[in-house]
Symmetry: C2
Subunit: 335 residues, 2 copies
Amino acid sequence: VSRLEHEIREQPEALARLLADERGQIAALARALAGRGAGSVMIAARGSSDNAARYAQYLLGERLGLPVALAAPSLESLHGAGAVPGRAGDVVLGISQSGRSPDVVGVLDAARAAGTATVAITNDAGSPLARAAELVVELGVGEERSVAATKTYTGSLAVLAALVAELRDDDADRAAVRRLPAVVAEAVDAAFAAGGFAAAAHVVAVGRGYNLATAMEIALKVRELSGIVAEGFSSADLMHGPIAAVGPETLAVLVAPPGAARPSVLEAADAVRDRGASTLEIGEGAELPLPPGVPEWLSPVAAVVPGQVLALRLAALAGRDADAPAGLSKVTETR
Amino acid sequence: VSRLEHEIREQPEALARLLADERGQIAALARALAGRGAGSVMIAARGSSDNAARYAQYLLGERLGLPVALAAPSLESLHGAGAVPGRAGDVVLGISQSGRSPDVVGVLDAARAAGTATVAITNDAGSPLARAAELVVELGVGEERSVAATKTYTGSLAVLAALVAELRDDDADRAAVRRLPAVVAEAVDAAFAAGGFAAAAHVVAVGRGYNLATAMEIALKVRELSGIVAEGFSSADLMHGPIAAVGPETLAVLVAPPGAARPSVLEAADAVRDRGASTLEIGEGAELPLPPGVPEWLSPVAAVVPGQVLALRLAALAGRDADAPAGLSKVTETR
């Protein structure tokens, strides 16, 4: 068994540990943020963590009505722009499993210089990112040895979801978050039991709303592990031009759990099938099945799992070593 | 000559007309925004206009120190989240050539409901987007008949640049903006004179900072017109995993005009060449040459032009009609 498969299977246990161990820290963070009043949020991240940031944009937007900006870290690293929110109640959040991307740290440094509250979510509490932030939530999912992030990605999503449940002070939300380890365990079992994966020359993962993050993360996993050109799209953006490059050689992965975004994804599915693409659906009762009864705002934590397994399968079909993706390293220090 | 080629060649004249006709409106908009004090900005857009929004994120960030959020329009259209900035000095901007994308209009509607200042940049002053906004800048570049946006894209960039020159109240900036039509005329001539375009199975356009927008817009043009899988990346993001799918079948288009971002793009160029990709550089003295002496903050207006011509050439090599991209329509009404 590859390290990657081990870490995919380890996710339920890692999430359970994280939610137990970090409960106090997440509640303290929620109290600190609530005391500042509602402002705007900017999130700095790269790679898989940037997909977690995309989830946070929907989560904080839909559940709390907060406007969220995804930072352009190059503004600070190339230009020293200081283009960060700086009013009362504003928060700048950095997400990085390693905590070692200098340009992400640079956004938090700019925020501190502006007097803005800074928060880090990282798997390394001793990292430069953790040191740059006033408040730190450690993922605590254990060392991630695969180059491809899996448990740190779902861990970041779970931290964000738990934080929002606390900020809303909603017991139904808290209970739904507590069910995540069991939900993800079901998703892992179902994904490894699924068959019928076939090689593809081009993969397009399609989601919308909450699961745009899932589509982008699945595309990144497939790409890193298999070397296949794989892209994630919002079903809305796909129709604004990019669908022109979808054809019979394309496998479209449809991230379509129940919820407000599903009709739009299914409409895009019809459009890509009209162009000859094959499709593979992630959803309740679909080819890649998800556990029933998960609310849309939590669905990304489970919906990414069949995509992680798909990436593993496509890597095997391509004869690639999932633990050693060609030319990639675990920590990418972009400046 | 295709309508598309005609519109690419028409850009210098369209920009000159736009900068003359809209000067008063842009100055009035600058006065209205300056009177509100510095807040944060959210921009809603889809397709090419979303690439213009990406330029605005760097432009307003670097030149004015303003934090800019690119809206997730689905938050309003799917969830009615009201997740827009709502404090004094905040502005919500919609960019759309047609002004007819319901989900972009929805973000402006949410902003008006929150009492936030709203601005539209559109080529149709009678469109729903223009009606939804308090302040409108019309592109006035004439009807764009090609499905692929060219003069409305460079027009949107020029409006943003002229607005920032007014907000900075800087005569050197104003003079640099006035030179844009001449600069773009040089870029058009040089691009149509360039040769050596060869078909590719996969195109990756790479930029960073200001020209991340250019890379994304070039990728979209190539994709729409030729049907080739073409993707735009920040050179920083490319190294965080996506480079795994770059190989000998990839043509990497390097957007590398002089400036702070150039070293990072050239570093990525070395990395993609190491994986066997061929490269084509856009820059001063490069294969696809740019006029000298253009400041980095204005370079995207010129740097996209050789990419537009590349897309036209790749469409011809693929036997496609540039005026009728398969399955696309001029107005995409995503809800």
